[in-house]
C-alpha cells in the first residue's frame, strides 16, 4: 500500500480546492457587495479558473491519496461536464433570482460546493470518498431546492427531496457497509476482488448489491424510486432544476459507472436482469407519465426520468460502445437540457410563472428565436437528427444491438418514438396556438449566452460528433 498522503496529491485536487476557496470568498463578499449579480460573476470566474486547472491536468492518469481518488480521463471528462453545467446554471440564474427576489450570495457558493462534491464523486474509487462527495453535493442541493424561501412549493419540494434523499443515502450507506464487511476494504478494486472470490449467489453479496443498487437508482431517479423527481423539479427554482437535471444526474451516473463497472462488476450476472427491468420501467413510465402533464417543469422532470432509463442501457451493454455512450449521452444532455430549461427560465417574468404549457402558447409570434431554439432542444431531447440528441441515442441503441439485447433495443426505440408526442405538445403550443398575452421573454446577457452555447453544441455535436465521441471513448477505454 502506498503512502496515504503525498505532496503531489494536492495537485490532483487543485480544481476542487479552487472551487472551495471561491465558495468561501463568496460567502465573505456577500457581506460586502450589495449587488448580488456581481457575486454570480465572481462564481463564474471561479468556475473558469477551476476549468483551467482541470485543463492543466488533462493528460494525467494517476490515483491520489493512496488510491482513493482517481484522476483519469473518465473523471476529467465528467468534471468538465459538471463545470459546464454549473457555469451555465449560474449564468441563467443571474436575472432569474432577481425576478424571484431571492438573489443571495450563498446561492452561488452552494452551487460551487455542490459542484465540488460532484467532482469528488467522479474521481472517487473508494466508498468513503465517494460518500462524502455525494453528501456534499446532496446537502448543497437540498438547500438550493428550497431556496425560494417565501414559496410554499419550493419549501415542500426541498423537504421531500431532503427526506427521500436522506433515506436513499441511508440505504446506499447500508449497502456500502455490507461491502466493507465482505471485503475489509473500502476501495473498489479490493471489493471487486473480494466479491469475485465469493460464490455468485452468496446472500450477503446479493444483499449488498441490491441495497447499493436501490440507493443509486434513487439518486438517478430510476423507476420505482423516481417519485421525488417531479415534485422536487417542479418546486425548485427553475435554474436549480436545470442544474439538478444535468449536473446532479451526471454525477450520480459517474458514481454508478464506478460502482457497477468496477466495485460490483463480479456480480454482473446478478444485477444485469435488475438493471434491465429498471431500465425498461424507467423509460416507459417516465414517457407515459410525461404525456399527461400540463406543467412544463413536471413534463421535463418525467422526461429526465425516461432519459435515465435510456442511459442505463449503456450499463446493460457494458461493452466499449455502451460505456462510451454513458458519458457521451450525459455530455449532450447537459447542453440540450440546460438549453431547454433556459428557455423556461426566460419565460419567468414579474407576474407570470411561465410553467404551464399554455404559457408557451404562441411563443413563436412573440419571440420567434426563443421558440425556434426550444424546438431545437426538444428535437434533440427526442433524438431527431441532425441534433446532438440523436447521436447520444444512436450510441445507446447501437450498444444494445451490438451486445444482442435486441428486445431492450426495440423497447427503447419505441419509447424514443413515443416521447416525440409530449415534446411536440410544447411545439404545438409554441407554434400553432394563438398568443395569449403580449409580453415577451425576459432576456439577460447570461441567458442569451447560455442559449447560444447550448444551441451551438446541440447542433455541432449533431452534425460533427467526431471529436466528442473520441473524447468520451477515451474517457472509458483507459478507465475500464
Amino acid at each position: 500500500m502506498s503512502q496515504f498522503f503525498q505532496i503531489q496529491d494536492i495537485g490532483a485536487i487543485t480544481p476542487e480546492l479552487e472551487l472551495v476557496a471561491f465558495g468561501m470568498f463568496l460567502l465573505i463578499f456577500d457581506l460586502l457587495i450589495p449587488d448580488k449579480r456581481k457575486l454570480g460573476l465572481i462564481a463564474l470566474a471561479g468556475i473558469a479558473i477551476s476549468g483551467l486547472f482541470l485543463f492543466r491536468l488533462r493528460n494525467t492518469d494517476f490515483s491520489a491519496y493512496g488510491g482513493v481518488l482517481a484522476l483519469d480521463p473518465f473523471s476529467i471528462f465528467f468534471k468538465s461536464i459538471f463545470l459546464i453545467a454549473a457555469a451555465l446554471s449560474i449564468a441563467i440564474s443571474l436575472k432569474y433570482l432577481d425576478i424571484e427576489r431571492e438573489n443571495h450570495g450563498e446561492y452561488y457558493a452552494l452551487i460551487l460546493f455542490a459542484t465540488m462534491g460532484m467532482m469528488f464523486m467522479a474521481g472517487a474509487v473508494d466508498l468513503v470518498t465517494l460518500y462524502i462527495g455525494l453528501e456534499t453535493m446532496a446537502i448543497a442541493t437540498y438547500i438550493l431546492v428550497g431556496f425560494l424561501r417565501s414559496n410554499q412549493r419550493s419549501n415542500e419540494a426541498s423537504m421531500k427531496y431532503f427526506l427521500l434523499g436522506a433515506f436513499s443515502s441511508g440505504i446506499l450507506l447500508y449497502g456500502m457497509s455490507l461491502l466493507y464487511g465482505l471485503s475489509g476494504s473500502t476501495r473498489f478494486v479490493d471489493i471487486a476482488e473480494a466479491l469475485s472470490r465469493r460464490p455468485l449467489t452468496d446472500p450477503i453479496s446479493m444483499m449488498a448489491m441490491i441495497t447499493l443498487s436501490a440507493g443509486m437508482f434513487f439518486k438517478v431517479a430510476a423507476v420505482p424510486f423516481h417519485q421525488w423527481t417531479p415534485d422536487a423539479y417542479e418546486g425548485a427554482p427553475t435554474s436549480i432544476t436545470a442544474f439538478m437535471s444535468v449536473a446532479v444526474k451526471a454525477a450520480s451516473f459517474a458514481m454508478m459507472v464506478r460502482i457497477f463497472m468496477v466495485a460490483i462488476y463480479p456480480l454482473r450476472p446478478q444485477w444485469l436482469p435488475i438493471m434491465a427491468a429498471v431500465s425498461v420501467m424507467t423509460m416507459t413510465i417516465g414517457n407515459i407519465a410525461a404525456i399527461t402533464q400540463s406543467n412544463v417543469k413536471r413534463m421535463l422532470a418525467y422526461s429526465s426520468i425516461s432519459h435515465a432509463g435510456y442511459i442505463l442501457i449503456g450499463f446493460i451493454a457494458g461493452n466499449e460502445t455502451g460505456l462510451t455512450a454513458v458519458p457521451l449521452y450525459l455530455f449532450i444532455y447537459t447542453f440540450t437540457n440546460l438549453g431547454a430549461w433556459a428557455v423556461i427560465v426566460a419565460l419567468r417574468r414579474k407576474d407570470v410563472i411561465g410553467e404551464q404549457i399554455d404559457d408557451m402558447a404562441g411563443l413563436f409570434f412573440r419571440h420567434p428565436s426563443g421558440a425556434v431554439l426550444m424546438l431545437i432542444f426538444l428535437l434533440s431531447l427526442a433524438g431527431i437528427p441532425p441534433t446532438a440528441g440523436f447521436i447520444g441515442k444512436y450510441y445507446l441503441f447501437a450498444a444494445a444491438i451490438q451486445t444482442g439485447h435486441n428486445t431492450l433495443a426495440v423497447i427503447a426505440v419505441l419509447n424514443a418514438a413515443i416521447s416525440i408526442y409530449f415534446y411536440f405538445r410544447i411545439v404545438v403550443s409554441m407554434f400553432m396556438r394563438e398568443a395569449t398575452e403580449k409580453t415577451g421573454l425576459v432576456y439577460a446577457p447570461g441567458l442569451t449566452m447560455t442559449l447560444a452555447i447550448a444551441t451551438f453544441f446541440t447542433l455541432l455535436i449533431g452534425v460533427y460528433p467526431d471529436p466528442f465521441i473520441a473524447m468520451a471513448r477515451q474517457a472509458v477505454v483507459l478507465g475500464f
Binding site: 428535437l379 431527431i384 437528427p385 441532425p386 440523436f390 444512436y394 441503441f397 447501437a398 444491438i401 451490438q402 435486441n406 433495443a409 426495440v410 426505440v413 419505441l414 424514443a416 418514438a417 413515443i418 416525440i420 408526442y421 411536440f424 404545438v428 407554434f431 400553432m432 460533427y464 460528433p465 467526431d466 465521441i469 473520441a470 471513448r473
Partner: protein
C-alpha cells in the same frame, strides 16, 4: 464546370438548404419577395439537376455515378457518401421537378406565415433529395428523419381543421417505423466486419472496418445468415412499409393528405411515399435477398390487399382529396406488387409506376387544390357540371384522370402494363388481382370525373367559377408533358432503368438469367 460536375449531387441536394438560409434573412412582411425567391430557388434547383440527366452514363447505369465519398464521423465509420444509379436518377429528377410545381401552386393558397412556409418547403426538398442520393446508411437515416420535421409543420400549421391530429399521427407513425429501421441498420453495421473478415473479396474492396456503406452491405448480402436477413428484413419492412404506405400501415395517409395544404399533399404523394419504395429497392432487395424471397408471398399479399382495398375505399369517399389519397394506397400497391415480382419487368414497371404515380397523383392533388381554393370545399356532392364553366380545367383533369387509370398513350398504362407482365411471369393470379385493381381504379376515377365535371351545374355556387389562371396552368403543364412523354416514348426511361434493374434481379435471384427465363427478358428488350 469540372468542380460543378464533381460535386453536382451535393450542390443539387444542398441548394434548397442554401436558398432556405438566405430566405430566413428576409423580412417576413415582404411576402412577394419571399414568394419570388422560393420559386426562384426551386426552379434553379430543377435547372441544376438537368445536367444529371444529360451527363448520366446510360451504359453504366447500374454503377453509382457522380460519387463523392468523404469521411464524416470517423469514430463510427460513417461517411458523406453520395451517388446515383439509374433508379435514384429518376427519383431525383422527379423530386426536383415536383418541388417547383408544389411551391408555385402555393402562391395564393398560403397567406399566413408565408416565410416559415417556404422555409419548411425548402428544407423538405433538401431532405428528400438527400434521401435519394445517400449511399451511406447513416447519412440516409439522418436525411430520412430530418424531413419529418418540415412535413410535420407544413401539415400542422397550414393544414385543415384536424391538422394537429393529422400532423402528429404522421410524425409518430413514421417515427415508429424509422426507429425500427435504425435497429435494422445497426444489426447490419455490427455484423458487417465479421462477414467481411471471412470473405477476402469483400474485404479487399470495402475493408473490414465498421462501415455504413450501402455498397459494402450489398457486397456481403449473399453471406448474411438467414436469421439476420429475416429480422433485418422485418425491421426494414416496418420502416419502409409505413412510408409507402403498405396495407395495414396506411391509416396515417388519408388523414395527412386531407389535412395537408395542397402543396404538402403533392409533395407527400409524389415524393415522400417514394422514399419507402426506394428504401425497398435500394436496401431490402439487394442487401437481404434471402429475406426478400422468403417474404415474397407476404409482400405480394399485402400489395394485392392494398390494390383492391384502396380502390374500394376510394370509391366510397365523399371527399375528393380523400378519394385521391386512397387511390394512392391502391397505386402504391401496384408499385410493391411489381417490385416483389422480382423480375426485370416487374421491377421496371414498379419504378416507372413510381414516377407515374408522382406525376398523376401530384397533378390530381394540384387539381383538387385549384377547386378547393375557389370553393373551400372538396365534397364531391357540392360539385357537378364544372366543365361548363371551367373548360380548360376539365381538359387537364380529364388527362390526369386517364393517366391515373392507365389509358394507353399516357404514362399510367406503361407502368401498369409492365407490372402486370412481370406479375404474370410469376403467377397468373397476381396479374388477375392487379387487373381487377385497374378496373376498379377506372371506376372510381371516372365516376369522380363524371360527378364533378359532367352534366349540368346544379349548385348555384358553382356558376361563377373562373377557369384556371396562367400560374395554375403552369403548375400542371410540365406534368402533362411528362405524362405524354412516358406514355408515348418511354424508351429513355427504360434505358436508364434496364441495367440497374437487371443488376438488382441478379442480386436477389442470381440464377434468374440462366436458361429459359433469359428469353423472357430479351423478348421485351427492343435494343
Amino acid at each position: 464546370m469540372d468542380y460543378f460536375r464533381e460535386h453536382i449531387l451535393t450542390i443539387v441536394a444542398f441548394w434548397p438548404l442554401a436558398g432556405m438560409i438566405v430566405l430566413m434573412l428576409f423580412n417576413k412582411e415582404n411576402k412577394t419577395l419571399i414568394r419570388w425567391w422560393a420559386n426562384f430557388v426551386m426552379i434553379v434547383g430543377f435547372v441544376i439537376s438537368i445536367p444529371l440527366w444529360v451527363w448520366f452514363d446510360r451504359d453504366t447505369a447500374d454503377q453509382m455515378q457522380f460519387v463523392q465519398n468523404i469521411p464524416w464521423i470517423q469514430t463510427i465509420g460513417a461517411n458523406y457518401h453520395v451517388g446515383i444509379d439509374g433508379i435514384s436518377l429518376l427519383l431525383v429528377m422527379l423530386t426536383t421537378l415536383l418541388g417547383p410545381l408544389a411551391v408555385l401552386s402555393s402562391w395564393e393558397a398560403i397567406h399566413d406565415r408565408v416565410k416559415e412556409y417556404y422555409v419548411f418547403m425548402l428544407m423538405l426538398q433538401a431532405g428528400m433529395l438527400g434521401v435519394f442520393v445517400s449511399l451511406d446508411f447513416f447519412l440516409f437515416y439522418v436525411f430520412w428523419e430530418v424531413m419529418l420535421v418540415p412535413m410535420y409543420f407544413i401539415i400542422g400549421v397550414w393544414g385543415g381543421p384536424r391538422k394537429l391530429y393529422a400532423a402528429i399521427k404522421f410524425f409518430l407513425y413514421t417515427l415508429f417505423g424509422s426507429v425500427l429501421l435504425l435497429l435494422g441498420i445497426l444489426a447490419l453495421y455490427f455484423i458487417y466486419p465479421n462477414l467481411a473478415a471471412q470473405h477476402p473479396e469483400v474485404a479487399g474492396r470495402f475493408g473490414t472496418g465498421a462501415t455504413f456503406d450501402v455498397l459494402a452491405f450489398q457486397a456481403v448480402a449473399s453471406y448474411l445468415p438467414f436469421t439476420y436477413q429475416y429480422w433485418i428484413f422485418l425491421a426494414f419492412f416496418v420502416g419502409f412499409a409505413i412510408k409507402v404506405p403498405m396495407f395495414p400501415f396506411h391509416t396515417w395517409l388519408p388523414d395527412a393528405h386531407v389535412e395537408a395544404p395542397t402543396a404538402g399533399s403533392v409533395i407527400l404523394a409524389a415524393v415522400l411515399l417514394k422514399m419507402g419504395t426506394y428504401g425497398f429497392l435500394r436496401f431490402s432487395l439487394p442487401i437481404l435477398p434471402d429475406g426478400t424471397k422468403y417474404f415474397v408471398p407476404f409482400m405480394i399479399g399485402l400489395s394485392i390487399i392494398a390494390i383492391i382495398y384502396g380502390a374500394l375505399v376510394a370509391m366510397m369517399q365523399p371527399d375528393m382529396k380523400k378519394l385521391v389519397a386512397y387511390s394512392s394506397v391502391s397505386h402504391m400497391g401496384f408499385v410493391t406488387l411489381g417490385m416483389f415480382a422480382l423480375n426485370p419487368n416487374g421491377l421496371n414497371g414498379s419504378i416507372i409506376q413510381q414516377i407515374n404515380h408522382g406525376i398523376s397523383t401530384g397533378a390530381l392533388f394540384l387539381i383538387v387544390g385549384i377547386i378547393y381554393e375557389r370553393r373551400h370545399t372538396r365534397e364531391i356532392a357540392q360539385f357537378g357540371g364544372l366543365s361548363n364553366v371551367m373548360p380548360m380545367y376539365a381538359v387537364v383533369f380529364l388527362i390526369m384522370t386517364l393517366s391515373s387509370i392507365g389509358l394507353p398513350l399516357l404514362n399510367g398504362f406503361i407502368g401498369e402494363f409492365t407490372i402486370i407482365m412481370g406479375a404474370l411471369q410469376q403467377n397468373l393470379w397476381w396479374a388477375v388481382a392487379a387487373g381487377a385493381g385497374i378496373v376498379l381504379g377506372a371506376a372510381y376515377m371516372l365516376w369522380l370525373y363524371q360527378r364533378t365535371m359532367l352534366g349540368k351545374i346544379e349548385n348555384p355556387a358553382n356558376e361563377k367559377l373562373i377557369d384556371m389562371n396562367l400560374r395554375e396552368l403552369a403548375t400542371l403543364v410540365p406534368l402533362i408533358i411528362v405524362a405524354f412523354w412516358i406514355g408515348l416514348y418511354p424508351a429513355p426511361f427504360f434505358r436508364v432503368l434496364d441495367k440497374p434493374v437487371n443488376n438488382l434481379v441478379l442480386k436477389v435471384r442470381p440464377d434468374y438469367f440462366q436458361g429459359t427465363q433469359r428469353l423472357n427478358a430479351e423478348i421485351r428488350e427492343p435494343r
